[in-house]
């Protein structure tokens, strides 16, 4: 668990803090996304976790221990670090890049080799093909995969990721996000993830911390709750006017109770049960239909039907529930 306790950062010679009295907790195995406009201190906050920046006030606890209990370099070797510009070592092969921290921790050679291959497989790069290449020979998306693999190399319980998928085109970014969520489902790291993109925050975060200019925490909650009940004008304008649709995108057709097929005609549009509700709604409106048949992906079996009315009801229920809480 990572715990921010009254953390502030003011740079010397400046009267205004860049991070202002930040307090929140990141639970084990959760992705906490720090999001906000530029100048909100999100990267600064992240960099204080592994002490690339030291706070002016307050402290950060990791599993109950202040992060100042050990030297900065030792601390950093036990926290994964991935950044937008990736920062691969251009003079080292992909294998050597990934092996950076294990080498610092003086792992045995065969253990490092095995780990490098395992990680390359994990991020979807064929070890035989990429192990001995140099970063310049890889595409941007491949480099970001290597950057993430390098951050995971020594299997650190905590990872810091500063826009780790920022330097690629939207399609590649989407795929990298999906792949990373799949990986996270297996490895369950405690992650502080920085982005300026609210959609990425909603997609990646178990919790979202929305920061505003001057490094003030505006709201800290799950994506669902923030979308359902933004606590201020700032948060609601930051998440956008389409927050209802964004919340629908968090729900999948397979998550909800469908209505029985009732021998519904072949004339109805068909939806995959893996779709999210926002896309499902879009399909329904696009097909000018009130109702669609939901089919399972694998066997193309009819699961039930879904109506616009159901989506409306679900959306409304969630909203009222949030307000009452």
């Amino acid at each position: 668990m990572i715990e921010f306790r009254g953390v502030s950062k003011t740079y010397p010679g400046s009267s205004r803090p860049v991070v202002n009295d930040l307090s929140f907790e990141v639970l084990d195995g959760e992705i906490c996304v720090l999001v906000g406009p530029s100048g909100c201190g999100k990267t600064t906050s992240m960099r204080m976790v592994n002490r690339l920046i030291e706070p002016s006030e307050g402290e950060i606890l990791i599993d109950g221990e202040p992060n100042t209990a050990m030297s900065g370099t030792k601390l950093r070797r036990h926290i994964g670090y991935a950044i937008q510009q990736i920062g691969l070592f251009p003079h080292r092969t992909i294998a050597d890049n990934i092996a950076t921290v294990p080498q610092l921790l003086e792992w045995r050679k065969d253990r490092i080799t095995a780990r490098v291959d395992e990680l390359l497989e994990l991020v979807g790069l064929d070890p035989g093909q990429y192990r001995d290449r140099y970063p310049a020979e890889l595409s941007g998306g491949q480099q970001q995969r290597v950057g993430v693999a390098r951050a995971m190399a020594a299997d650190p319980p905590i990872m810091l990721m500063d826009e780790p998928f920022g330097a690629v085109d939207p399609i590649t970014r989407n795929r990298l996000q999906d792949e990373f969520l799949r990986i996270q489902g297996e490895i369950k790291k405690t992650i502080v993830f920085v982005t300026h993109d609210i959609d990425e925050a909603i997609k990646m975060g178990d919790k979202i911390a929305i920061l505003k200019e001057g490094g003030i925490l505006a709201q800290y909650d799950t994506p669902e709750n923030i979308l359902a009940a933004p606590n201020s004008e700032f948060v609601s304008s930051f998440v956008g006017a389409d927050r209802v649709l964004k919340r629908l995108s968090l729900l999948h057709v397979s998550d909800i109770e469908l209505e029985p097929p009732n021998g519904a005609g072949d004339r109805l549009p068909r939806l995959s049960e893996r779709m999210n509700l926002k896309d499902a709604l879009s399909e329904l409106i696009g097909a000018d239909a009130e109702r669609a048949v939901v089919v399972s992906d694998a066997e193309d079996r009819v699961r039930g039907t879904l109506s616009i009315e159901t989506i409306r009801r679900l959306s409304h229920q969630a909203e009222t529930k949030q307000r009452d809480e």
Binding site: T73, K74, H78, I83, G87, L88, H91, P135, A136, E137
Partner: protein
Amino acid sequence: MSSFMGCLIALQNLGPKTFDWNWISSNLTDEIIPAVIGHIYLSFVSVAIALLISLPTGILVSRYRKAYPPVTFITGVLYSIPSLALFALLVTVPGIGLGPRAVIIALVAYSLLVLIRNVVAGMDSVPEETKDAARGMGLTSRQILFRVELPLALPVIVAGARIATVTVIGIATIGAYISGGGLGELIFTGISRNFPTRVIVGAVLATLLAILADLSLLALERYLRPWARARRA
């Protein structure tokens, strides 16, 4: 420059039988080869000492930027002193006097500007995000310097060493004027004895030496950048 002048003088005296091939074979071991070795020694020692000074200076200057202008100023002034004048000045300094020592000091002085500039340029060429990633993964400042910054800066530093070496090999010929030895010796005695063969042999060998040094350092530069080779492939 001096080799070039030597050639000009020799060319003026060219006539039938100007070039004495026999002189080469009879003086190869006791004059020509020692002159070549002496020349290599002068140049190599000078560049080596200059590198020993420039590397730490350049690294420090790249960290403490305020020191860069004064360092460039001082080395720039040294670089702008005419070589003959510098040799003459050094000879008058007590404890230096005539001989290779004065030559080496002058050659070191000439190399500093180019070398320090290239060390700084090399250090500057290391991407900020590469250093940030290194620090974020827990490398110490020393590890970042030796494992990241210097390897990445090295090709630029070697490029500087190339320029310095070629310059030094040229200027070293003038060193013979103050008894520094090397190929300049052949040229100067050739001129004073009006014996063009010596001048031509000295000038040609000095030129060959410069070209050879340039090519081998170019090869080294390439070798130190395997990742750039890979990109081209």
